[in-house]
Amino acid sequence: MSLQERTPSEPDVGVTEDGLDYDELEALLEGRVLDREEHVNAEGFVIRPDEVEDVLSTLKEEAGFDHCSAVTAQEYDDRFESIYHLKKYDDPTQELSVVVPTSKDEPVSQSAAGVYDTADWHEREAYDLVGINYEDHPDLRRILLPETWQGHPLSERYNQTQPQVVPLREHANPLEEDHRGSGDDSDTMFVNIGPHHPATHGVLHVKTVLDGEQIVDLDPDIGYLHRSEEQMCQQGTYRHQIMPYPDRWDYSPGGLLNEWAYARAAEDLADIDVPEYAQVLRTMSAELTRIAAHMLAVGTFGLDLYGDFTVIFMYAVRDREVVQNLLEDLTGQRLMFNYFRLGGVAWDLPEPRDEYLEKIRDFLDELPDRLEEYHNLISGNEIFQMRAVDTGILQPETAKSYGATGPVARGSGVDYDLRRDDPYGYYDELDWDVVTEDGCDNYARLLVRMQEVEESAKIIKQCVDLLEDWPEDDREIQSNVPRTLRPDPDKEIYRAVEGAKGELGIYIRSDGTDKPARFKIRSPCFSNLQTLPVMSEGEYIPDMVASLGSLDIVLGEVDR
């Protein structure tokens, strides 16, 4: 479906030539907007906590806000607040925040899970960490912390000194009767897949109910790698202390892409300009990171389908190693780069420049042959196609409802890439394409990643050409940024970049100090992982494993 051929019946209330007309949107909601807030990225509509579902479904059906990016919850001195960051898949620059304040004594708000499937997990996280109760939520349990945890760590009343007891329940009897499947005579078996399992790509725990080899019910249990990243960022100063953390979210390595998410949000919050030369450096290094991340994704997906001791994984890692070396030369690090700075980057290309750029060129020249080899080895293999084609189906509408982004969404034909749709860095000056596949299956997601490697190579090539010809006296890598950064109080921003796995967004609220009052990470893996039950229920275990591999989750980013 082309974006241009909109039929008149399509929901587009408030869409004008120069952005959204918020007055029209307010009129659409017929007086349910109590107040309007000015956020940096969009306006915020304040609504009553018992009208959440009503308002959101109106906005979704009639105004076309089909993408609920994230739910941010936070506590003020006088209230709790949930913010629903809404966007449109067609045009993510059309944003709207729906702000739902609740009382301090009884923080109860209506759930949005009936409107956006993705709100399910996001609200569970808000409940878990901040302590807001969501009425009519299908399954309001803790998500990141253990079920027995006492208190909500990001709320003001949380007692940090209280000891927490996390019991290890005795393992269940493996031969226990289990009849959770459909039908009266169902004979099912409960299996814990993970947290220690070769195919969970980290410490994911999938509670699975099997009927024979087929999956009846599946519940991903996350949080084993929860490191309070949001809390840690709230305790660091904007200028220097936050930047090292993003490297630790998606370490596949998505490091530079993650850093960019923070850099973009903080720069827009504090009105910091970035010199053009630094933007080219950022773009080039970020795309190198993307290639490395996608290589690992392709390799581990191969691992899931082939078993251990397989060539595709080793080949992918071998080629990724070249990228890692390039990034090491540039940033001094192989994984935890810490290369971006607010207003620029840490340093220029390594000397001698020509030699370094030549190294990148060599890598790019060899890349097509490598990819050809991958295609021969995996995507062209009949057995591989038997396994990957038509398994792990994720329909476009489902993908949107679950807030899937990145290669997962693009593999379902959802044409959504923030690099093009909400341009930042140097992307809009360069010539490249957004890759989509209509297969909606594991195979399509793999193809998207492999083609994105080619597109990234195209971007890098253009950046290398630009850097080579850049006049020597104009190589400004850092703009003027105050030593201590104190954004104006009560500014709020939600900004996202296209990370390796999808839309990586940061919400920051400033309170006039040099540290954020609230720092919320919208992790693409978190939203993407939610689609796993949809893809896998009714399928075989091997297909579930393949689907999990094709989602390409990094638990560091899921759990944060």
């Binding site: 080899e213 078993g307 060539v311 071998r318 995996i378 075989y540 494993v545």
Partner: protein, 361 residues
């Protein structure tokens, strides 16, 4: 047709000792037989010991652009010793609720069954323990006992992954054993006997393959069954991959799906036995293929035992290649390939062989 078996290894040993095999006492024959069996067993185990901790790693490493073990001894060969010590000295952990003695017997059944089948395989240079008339039937029957070991291991471990692995193993072995045996039967039609024999006994499976098929110049091509009916050969090779559980048919272990299947709960010596059993099985698969399709130990210039070793290592190399480069099929696809594809093809192959035999005769 009954042909006298070739001279067995026991008889050769007796002759070496200066005794007449026909008059030697039963106790003496028993003792010497044990000695001969030990020799054959040692030969197989030697191959396995070289393959498991060393050759397999080196082969996989060269497929995947790596170097692999290279620290201990020349080219890392000392790893064999080090790894053996390491594996044997590990703690033997037995799950609390394991069903003993089935849990303890399973690895022995698995490793033992494969080893027993080597008793009738002609390895060339006169190494063959016995040559019964029902040789081939014995080989298939004994090798199938391995499935029992897998099921025992899977069920007795009291672990859900093991259980799934055990079930998978049985489903897979039944689905592929039948095509395997049917394809083997086509060789029986060709040779007219179940007796494996050796190069000197023309009316046996191996002996029948020694005749000249045709000659190109001065080179005479022997009538190895693999040359006469390449279709049966290919079919047998594929079924054999499933039988030994290597990609694309490594479903019973499938580490990324069910951890390690039936061997999840096994450690230390028991694990070594499983590992050993698997490798003996791969070599047994190679030995059967060599015997049925590649003229047994026959080959020019070099002695028979060398040719035999080369042939079984060739098959081993192939399984490692498949393991490195071919994805794993799904369990339902595997069963489908087995019952709907391989079985039909192997029946067709039986017919084809009958026609070939009819034309030649």
């Amino acid at each position: 047709m009954i042909v006298p078996g070739a001279m067995s290894l026991t008889d050769r040993f007796l002759e070496l000792l200066g005794l007449d095999p026909s008059t030697a006492g039963p106790l003496l024959v028993f003792g010497v037989s044990i000695l001969a069996a030990g020799l054959v067993g040692s030969f197989v185990l030697l191959n396995t010991a070289f393959a498991g901790p060393y050759a397999k790693r080196k082969i996989t490493a060269s497929f995947t652009d790596r170097i692999s073990v290279n620290r201990i001894g020349p080219a890392g060969i000392g790893t064999i010793v080090v790894d053996s010590v390491r594996l044997l000295s590990k703690e033997l952990i037995i799950p609390e609720d394991a069903d003993r003695p089935a849990y303890d017997l399973a690895p022995i059944v698995l490793a033992g069954s494969a080893l027993l089948a080597f008793a009738v395989i002609p390895m060339g240079s006169g190494i063959q323990l016995a040559d019964p008339e029902i040789g081939l039937a014995y080989v298939f029957a004994i090798a199938s006992i391995a499935s029992l070991g897998l099921l025992m291991a899977g069920y007795a471990s009291n672990n859900k992954y093991s259980f799934l692995g055990g079930l998978r193993a049985v489903a897979q072995n039944i689905a592929y054993e039948i095509p395997l045996v049917l394809t083997g039967a086509s060789v029986v039609i060709f040779a007219g006997t179940l007796q494996l024999g050796n190069v000197t006994t023309p009316d046996t499976i191996v002996g029948a393959q020694q005749a000249t098929l045709f000659t190109i110049g001065s080179i005479s091509i022997p009538s190895w069954f693999g040359f006469i009916n390449p279709f049966a050969f290919a079919l047998f090779m594929a079924a054999n991959l499933a039988e030994v559980g290597r990609n694309p048919f490594d479903i019973p272990e499938a580490p990324t799906e069910i951890v390690a299947g039936y061997q999840t709960e096994y450690s230390s010596v028991y694990f070594v036995l499983f590992y050993l059993g698997e490798f003996i099985h791969i070599f047994l698969g190679g030995a059967i293929i060599a015997t049925l399709f590649l003229g047994g130990p026959a080959g020019p210039v070099l002695p028979g035992i060398v040719w035999f070793t080369i042939k079984i290592w060739g098959v081993f190399l192939l399984t490692q290649w498949a393991r490195s480069a071919v994805p794993r099929v799904r369990i339902d696809q595997l069963i489908q390939i087995g019952w709907k594809g391989m079985l039909v093809l192997s029946l067709a192959n039986l017919l084809l062989t009958a026609v070939i035999v009819g034309v030649i005769a």
